[in-house]
Amino acid sequence: MTTYREAVRTAIQTLLREDPRVFLMGEDVGRYGGAYAVSKGFLEEFGEERIRDTPLCESTFVGAGIGAAIGGMRPIVEVMTVNFSLLALDQVVNNASLMRHMSGGQFEVPLLVRMATGGGKQIAAQHSHSLENWYAHIPGIKVLAPATVQDAHDMVLAGIEDPDPVFIFEHQMLYGMEGPLDTESTPPSPWKAAVRREGKDVSLIAYGGSLHKALGAADELEKEGIVAEVVDLRSLRPLDHETIVQSVSRTHRAVVIDEAWKTGSLASEISAILAEEAFYELDAPIERVCTLEVPIPYAKHLEDAAIPQVDRIVAAAKRSVGGA
């Protein structure tokens, strides 16, 4: 058993030890030990060349990561949170995602970017965004959302191996979470969703920080005789259509839980996929449980009301299953 944070740390440490092309770059990754303590001790072990504290210039250090990847290195760029990554969106969208295409296949960007995401700690409106859907929208990059300790470890390794730019979103509420970690066995493909809990009455589809709320909701629902299936998306781009559709084909009802705002969210995308590919399996309208369409409030009771919680998931599931 270890923590999510430790799992990420172990993975990066393994890479730094085994592949000289790998280096870590970002704000406060060195002296500070990482804003979320992921890289504690790295500067001492690997030195300043490979653990690079950057100035506060998201656009340029993400872009430099792109350039370094093109140039043959395997950088891990840590953007402190998705909130600050907005400054680097031009480099991501106009360089990282396009380089292979614009050059006709001559150049590739084997870059790994990690960032913390999500809200729930009262760090207020500018620091609580969930913008995974903005990234998942872009062809040319890949997006992962580890929701378990095991995935936190495995996805870093998969991200470095991938020849395309990979963006890993680590929900900031998960860093202290404990869970089992197996570093010996071959990990499953990160690009597939996983059924974390089997059920028959309704599919609860979630990712990242919302997975555990979905599992909590499933516990609640079981007390009332509703057996919910819980699907962890794991990969946000590409989305695993097959697993999602198979689950809903079994249960005939879907509740999608997404901490982003509902409009234009990944929940919307999944609803569209289900409407297209599982239309004749649906016994009820698709439910989406998302953050309310408000900037994330600071006060605790308001923040809790805005972000999806177990009770809203349970209510949605019940509506979906119906009164009968």
Binding site: C57, S59, T60, I66, G71, D90, G105
Partner: protein, 325 residues
């Protein structure tokens, strides 16, 4: 002051500038005939910068350029045919027809594009230099950009980062006095662009960009310094574009007289005159160069015309390394 170069050298410089000029003129013609579509940014008037700089850099150095990069690519060694075919959008273009005029790429020549976001190339250049430094390669990453790019945040961030981490980037500012339609004095607070980099600890110089020999010398010296010290340097090349920003530009922002005035400094005409007056080249040489250039361009157009269109079935290629399920 004499040119102080050999006849062969003079011929090469003139040949390269004329090649660029004729390529750009033909591109303009083909654009108005709709063979080339989208945006087209011509280098006419600025040839001395492209030629001088590209000749001064080594084939091993990295080049990051802007959307006004046909000349840079040509002198770097990307064939006129591949450039033309790329502008046509054909599969035999240097970017497979995927990029167009603004996105010429060539891995073989270490030509890293072809960037259309002003200022977008700075971080890439820093990253390429970072990789070379970490791998112990003694390479210069030359980053070309215009005066407009110095307004963008990335310029300042990159100056800071390259100075701080000591990255071998040669910043080459092609100051043609205009950021698209906004004159220099209306978009820059400090009229002397060369003042910026020293604020970050980066040595800076300025050179007359209409003088190809001066350009070549200055870039050579700056590049060698970067190569030796591993630290960044900045060079402003003062130049002027005789044509509009792009093909679809009525040039409301400047007077015809101003353009005509600057045309008197045409890098090709002035160099040719000097070289001829010093007895380095003759009119026959010029005629031969023009004839060769005409042939080269004609062959390039033919190459482009004959090129195939990439099949639509391949549209998803080059999005990812492997097609996703």
């Amino acid at each position: 002051m004499t040119l102080d170069i050999s006849r062969d050298h003079a011929l090469e410089l003139l040949r390269d500038m004329i090649r660029i000029r004729r390529l750009e003129e033909k591109s303009a013609e083909l654009y108005s005939k709709q063979k080339i579509r989208g945006f087209l940014h011509l280098y006419i008037g600025e040839e001395a910068v492209g030629v001088g700089a590209m000749r001064a850099l080594r084939m091993d150095d990295n080049i990051v350029a802007t959307y006004r990069e046909h000349g840079h690519a040509l002198i770097r060694g990307v064939s006129a045919g591949e450039i033309m075919a790329e502008m046509y959008g054909k599969a035999n273009g240097c970017s497979g027809g995927r990029g167009g005029s603004m996105h010429l790429f060539c891995a073989e020549r270490r030509f890293y594009g072809g960037h259309a976001i002003v200022g977008g190339g700075f971080p890439i250049a820093a990253g390429l230099a970072l990789a070379d430094k970490m791998k112990g390669e003694a390479r210069v990453t030359a980053c070309f950009f215009g005066d407009g790019a110095t307004d963008e945040g990335e310029f300042h961030e990159t100056l800071n980062l390259t100075a701080l981490w000591k990255l071998p980037v040669l910043f080459l500012c092609e100051n043609n006095q205009y950021a698209m339609g906004t004159a220099f004095e209306r978009h820059v607070s400090d009229r002397d662009i060369a003042n910026n980099p020293p604020a970050y600890g980066i040595p800076s110089d300025s050179v007359n960009g209409m003088d190809v020999v001066a350009v070549e010398r200055a870039v050579h010296n700056a590049a060698e310094t970067v190569r030796e010290t591993g630290a960044p340097r900045f060079l402003e090349l003062r130049t002027y574009r005789f044509r509009a920003h792009s093909m679809y530009d009525a040039e409301l922002y400047r007077d015809k007289e101003e353009v005509e005035e600057h045309k008197k400094e045409d890098p090709i005409a002035t160099f040719q005159a000097r070289a001829m007056s010093e007895g380095l080249i003759t009119q026959d040489d010029v005629d031969a160069i023009e004839a060769d250039a005409a042939q080269e361009i004609a062959d390039a157009v033919e190459f482009a015309e004959q090129g195939e269109w990439e099949p639509i079935e391949d549209i998803a290629r080059h999005t990812y390394a492997r097609n996703l399920p």
